[in-house]
Amino acid sequence: MTKLASARCRVAGLIASAFAMSATSAFAQAAAAPAKLDGADTAWMISATSLVLMMSIPGLALFYAGMVRKKNVLATMAQTLAAVALGSILWVVIGYSLAFTGEGAVIGTFERILLIGMGMDAIHPLAKTIPESVFMIYQMTFAVITVALVAGSVADRMRFSAFLWFIAGWLLFIYVPIAHWVWGGGFLGSAGVLDFAGGLVVHLNAGIAGLVAAYVLGPRRGYGSENLAPYDLSLAVIGTGLLWVGWLGFNGGSALGASPRAGYAIVATHLAACAGVLSWMALEWWDRGKPSVLGMISGAVAGLGTITPASGFVLPWHGIVIGLVAGAVCYWACTKLKQKLGYDDSLDVFGVHGIGGATGTILAGVFAVAVVGDTAGLLEGNAKQVLLQFYGVVATLIWAGVGTFVLLKVIDFFVALRVRDEDERVGLDVSLHGESLQ
């Protein structure tokens, strides 16, 4: 709506009803109770959807492919592509319906299978100002990037056919329930667990799954002895840039409208990324003598993943604090904890997303500010919120951990999870996909 038109409305409003002038958000909220499309919110949410899609393709595809060896670059990209392609179809066929319809504590309904009943004027109760189709596809971009994230932990050694089964199973049995629990009306959300844009649903979830997958598949050939240095980190930097930019849609879009809360969320998000860069960089500089670019981008993603659950509940500058913490704990997890535990999480899905997601979820409970997201956190005296956040972490951790383990074992039984030695040595690009970087 142009300024002109809005001026006119304003005049009409004045004459027709003086009290409307003084009415504030309380009233607006009441009046807004009946769902009503808002073009501005729709405009922003379509843009946000584009941004989040860009996070997966090409963002995550680049981020991951930039950290593997030359012989596995294309195969790594293939995993992200497949996660988007297959994951999106499954989301539309059944995933969305199970995650976002009904009032079940544990799982949704079959009401929207294949989007049946989602007319052009349909509106979802959680997003009353945008078409349901936009809400559905926005949520879809979250589902597919989460599956795609998991793949990083088993890069360089998983069979592509097994990965396709994994995408399908994991999306439906792990992601969908947790999304329902937290966002779709399930027991975690109802209990008051805060997760603005996916600390539990996306990051901790993918991180734990990644950790389990790294254990189940075992380390890459040559892990600890051969030089497994990334082939082309510049790809990973491009990927980080696109992830970072897209994350404004990820967290800003989770406000579900072009509102001040979206503004707050993107500021906190960006600051956490920046602080993550600086804290990882500083620690590595101090610890290893040189600040690596891989470290800087790892810090950025750590900051982004960690602020995600908190971004719509805290003040913008809290993003700096959360980002600093994120860089530090994820640095520790990727360099110290991993070595101690000895698993080969190739691209540090657990170290960055798992640890970051859990940390951020707890910190959301610490920093939450009532005027921002209607919930007070520990610093505003509500200690209970931190316990609630722990509750969310534990529930996610258990379901994702156990579920992923069972799923992988089942797939391994029917379709071997891991490529043959010779194929791993030659590289997955040639052995699985019949092509290569020249």
């Binding site: 051969e226 040595r425 040639v430 019949g434 092509e435 290569s436």
Partner: protein, 112 residues
């Protein structure tokens, strides 16, 4: 002096280097090469076009050694580079007339 030139499988480099160090060789020069031989390559497919990739990635190692070391060096490479699978590669031994260390101008065995 001899120039020992070995064509090996790329992932054997570290083992070969260790084996050479073990027999007292502390310098070598390595190049990425493509080898054609009995080991067959693979096919790459691009939108219906298939290309046979017959040249496989190998590493070429060149080591200059004193005459009396040649046998040991050659044996060390064989034992480290061998997988028993086709395509393990070759060792070629050439006569080396002269060697110079650029930094010092030292020549022949002193230069190695």
């Amino acid at each position: 002096m001899k120039l020992v030139m070995a064509i090996i499988k790329p992932f054997k480099l570290d083992e070969v280097r260790d084996a050479l160090t073990a027999v007292g060789v502390h310098g070598m020069t390595v190049s990425e090469v493509k080898g054609y031989g009995r080991q067959k390559g693979h096919t790459e497919i691009y939108r219906g076009a298939e290309y046979a990739v017959n040249f496989l990635p190998k590493l070429k190692i060149e080591v200059a050694v004193a005459d009396d070391q040649t046998e040991r060096v050659s044996a060390a490479i064989v034992s480290a580079a061998k997988t028993g699978q086709i395509g393990d590669g070759k060792i070629f031994v050439l006569d080396l007339g002269q060697a110079v260390r650029i930094r010092t101008g030292e020549t022949d065995n002193d230069a190695l």
